[in-house]
């Protein structure tokens, strides 16, 4: 009996210490600006353009007092996991971190990132495309600056469309899309695949975003979830349910699976609505269709509209645990807004900076990179189309502070609508309930409509 008491006492003591340590970690971050010209920065991120080394060299040359140590964390998921571990531990965190846009809110809410308006980043709003910029705000303050953007585009296989007698260029609304889907299905192909797995979560958010839906709203500690009664959601549900019921979409092939690439490559899947970063993936995943693919603006919900939405994208943030926040911001600014941004764009990143999107060299069909892409797209000037999409207006859209959960739960719940176990409305309702429960578990006050 006495031993049990001792164990309880020891546990309580350790618990108190942990609690104290947690408090200590959170309170003394306000004055960590450090020397803006002299610092050794640690930078976590991934390097999809294989160009980070050169860009960092350029930065160090322009800022002789600052050195940057780049740690390649591989993937977005690994980076955010490592960052949340480092923040929980209270040390070992980098100064600058690359994050996928939807996870920025999560770290902003849990006080892991620095509000960049401290350094005047809020004044840069008009320099960036609206889509990526809007996603990185929390309480109307920027917590990251966008490196790239992913306006949702309509990619289609012209060869398959021609066979079905459909002109891809003429698809302006989702109603046109539905009519085209029927004709394409008659040839044996599918207009696209929709399987409701967790990999379809990003296209899902992009599509409902474009429909003006707000499936969830975050206001400080209050979350409102309105998965099925929101006007935009209703529009979306009705439309997709129709595609499922009439067997117009391939519900068996998840995005990014091996089958997916093969079906893109043999023409079974005739089009995709996905981010502007897709061309390079199509070129490697569907090499047999070279010359056949085209890109066009996303179909609209109402005729004559020009509404875009974002699918994917990444950004740079300054970590609150950093002792060199001023120098770290300098680096972030260089990479996203300064000379580094141009270098990133030159090595394949789809830019979010209006200056680059509007520049002649970006849409110049004679550059080596553009020529390769345009050849694959049958001579179309791809970047011209993409650049136009990136500069279209977007509605405000917010991700949940627990976005990774929202993504994995999407696969568990919503896929049931695509295997036809339940209706999409029911599946999304269950999904909303699950999101609400998670929100409550995380201490939010959740209202479900």
């Amino acid at each position: 009996m006495r031993n049990i008491k001792k164990v309880i006492a020891a546990t309580a003591a350790v618990a108190t210490l942990v609690g104290l340590a947690a408090c200590g970690g959170g309170s003394d971050n306000s004055s960590n600006q450090g020397d803006a010209d002299n610092a050794e920065l640690v930078f976590w991120g991934w390097d999809s353009g294989n160009s980070m080394k050169d860009i960092i060299k350029g930065f160090e040359k322009a800022n002789p007092g600052i050195t940057v140590k780049f740690n390649n964390t591989g993937t977005a998921e690994k980076t955010s996991t490592a960052l949340s571990n480092a923040i929980a531990a209270g040390n070992g965190a980098p100064d600058v971190v690359m994050l996928e846009d939807p996870t920025v809110t999560q770290f902003a809410v849990t006080d892991g990132l620095v509000d960049l308006s401290e350094f005047g980043a809020d004044k840069l709003a008009d320099d960036f495309a609206a889509g990526p910029w809007n996603k990185l705000q929390y309480n109307n303050k920027p917590y990251a600056l966008p490196i790239d953007s992913g306006p949702e585009m309509f990619f289609y296989n012209k060869a398959v469309f021609d066979k079905a007698g459909v002109d891809g260029e003429s698809i302006k609304t989702w109603d046109d899309y539905y009519e085209a889907a029927k004709k394409i299905r008659a040839t044996g192909s599918y207009i696209t695949n929709l399987a409701g797995t967790s990999n379809d979560y990003q296209p899902f958010t992009a599509q409902v975003w474009q429909a003006g839906a707000q499936p969830w709203k975050v206001d400080g500690e209050n979350i409102t979830i309105n998965m099925t009664k929101d006007a935009g959601m209703k529009k979306y549900i009705q439309f997709v349910q129709k595609l499922i019921d009439e067997d117009l979409v391939d519900t068996k092939t998840p995005n990014w699976s091996d089958d997916w690439n093969r079906e893109l490559n043999d023409g079974t899947i005739a089009s995709l609505t996905i981010g502007a970063w897709m061309p390079v993936n199509l070129m490697s995943g569907a090499p047999d269709q070279a010359g056949n693919w085209r890109v066009a603006q996303l179909p609209q919900w109402e005729e004559g509209q020009e509404v875009s939405a974002e699918d994917g994208g990444s950004a740079l943030s300054v970590v609150k645990l950093s002792k060199n926040q001023a120098a770290a911001y300098k680096f972030v600014e260089y990479m996203t807004h300064g000379d580094g941004a141009q270098e990133m764009a030159d090595t394949g990143t789809f830019p979010s900076l209006k200056k680059i999107l509007q520049s002649d060299s970006f849409t110049d069909p004679t550059t080596e990179g553009n020529k390769k892409t345009n050849d694959y797209f049958g001579g179309q000037n791809v970047n011209e189309v993409l650049s136009e999409a990136a500069q279209r207006p977007t509605e405000k859209f917010q991700y949940l502070p627990y976005n990774p959960f929202a993504q994995s739960a999407y696969g568990d719940e919503v896929s049931k609508a695509y295997t036809k176990e339940i209706t999409l409305e029911q599946a999304l309702k269950n999904y909303g309930d699950k999101l609400a429960k998670q929100g409550e578990d995380q201490g939010y006050t959740v209202t479900v409509k």
């Binding site: 618990a15 990774p404 994995s408």
Partner: protein
């Protein structure tokens, strides 16, 4: 597999106290002296063991009594995580799934392994060495790789199953939700039969040949030798392989996680097995405390089952 070996090691140390109590008085006097000398050899292992095994377990138990929230921070909640787990349908559905998996897959795998070991030991086969290595080889292939290979084989559109369907005009889909667990069981059987076969085979090869000679002089048939000499010898290693296999199947993780994106629809949920559920809770659900409670509970369930099996086999050996 490393967890399995450690698990088995700790299961075996459970036997030690009873054995030492049966030692003679002489041994008991020497015991005191031997203790510290033994530790000199033990400390490198003990140190690593404490750091990578004991401390993480204690830490997991410790954090399972807390709850970390995005709003409100970390607080002590006692047994709340455990009581929540008790009524968590997703958790129990995953436990029943691996239990069903264990009940069906383990006997099939061990039967095949024993049959192969007996065939090898019969000394009537040509190319024994080749056979032994080739059955063991799948175990040496990393689980991630072998799952990908099987995933490609299983594909109903572009895989081997797809080619089969094209050729015979059939409509097979081994990745359909109702047969998916069997498909995963097949991967596991392929991976671990050779490993278990080797354990059986090594215990068969400890039987002295004089026994066989004596048996054949007495006029025993080959089948009688198997039944009277070889099978009783296998009983001891059977207990070990059963325990390994139960622990292994309850920890099912690699195969379903890799297959997740290869299976049509979303038949493999994030809570398909207890381990996948724990992983997703802590890495995408921000609920590492609840995940720790889950891990501890699963460890207790697995240990209880392994202990029951061990107890039963010991009783049988006493007879």
């Amino acid at each position: 597999m490393s967890e399995q070996t450690l698990g088995a090691a700790s299961a075996q140390t459970g036997l030690l106290p009873e054995m030492t109590s049966r030692h003679t008085a002489q041994a008991r006097i020497n015991k005191h002296k031997a203790d510290w000398r033994g530790w000199k050899f033990m400390w490198p292992f003990a140190l690593v063991f404490v750091f990578v095994f004991i401390i993480p377990i204690v830490y997991a138990i410790f954090i399972s009594f807390f709850k970390k929230q995005m709003i409100g921070g970390t607080k002590f909640v006692g047994f709340e995580n455990y009581s929540r787990l008790f009524v968590d349908q997703q958790f129990w559905s995953s436990v029943w799934r691996v239990a069903l998996f264990t009940i069906v897959q383990v006997p099939i795998m061990l039967f095949l392994a024993a049959a192969m070991a007996l065939a090898l030991d019969s000394m009537k086969l040509h190319g024994t060495k080749f056979f032994r290595i080739s059955t063991f080889l799948p175990y040496a292939v990393p689980a991630v790789v072998s799952t990908m290979i099987w995933g490609f084989v299983y594909g109903a559109k572009y895989g081997l199953v797809g080619s089969f369907n094209d050729f015979f005009g059939t409509n097979l889909d081994v990745l359909a939700p109702d047969v998916l667990l069997a498909a995963i069981g097949n991967i596991n059987t392929w991976e671990f039969t050779g490993y278990n076969m080797l354990i059986f085979y090594s215990s068969l090869s400890t039987i002295p040949h004089s026994l066989y000679e004596a048996a054949s002089i007495d006029g025993a048939s080959e089948w009688q030798i198997v039944k009277r000499i070889k099978l009783p010898e296998l009983r001891g290693s059977l207990a070990i392989t059963v325990i390994f296999s139960i622990i292994g199947s309850f920890q099912l993780f690699n195969e379903p996680s890799i297959l997740q994106n290869m299976v049509p629809g979303n038949a493999i949920t994030t809570y398909y097995t207890p381990n996948m559920y724990a992983y997703n809770l802590s890495f995408s659900g921000n609920q590492s405390n609840y995940a720790a409670a889950l891990a501890i509970t699963m460890a207790v369930i697995t240990m209880a089952i392994a202990y029951a099996v061990q107890l039963r086999s010991m009783k049988e050996q006493m007879k």
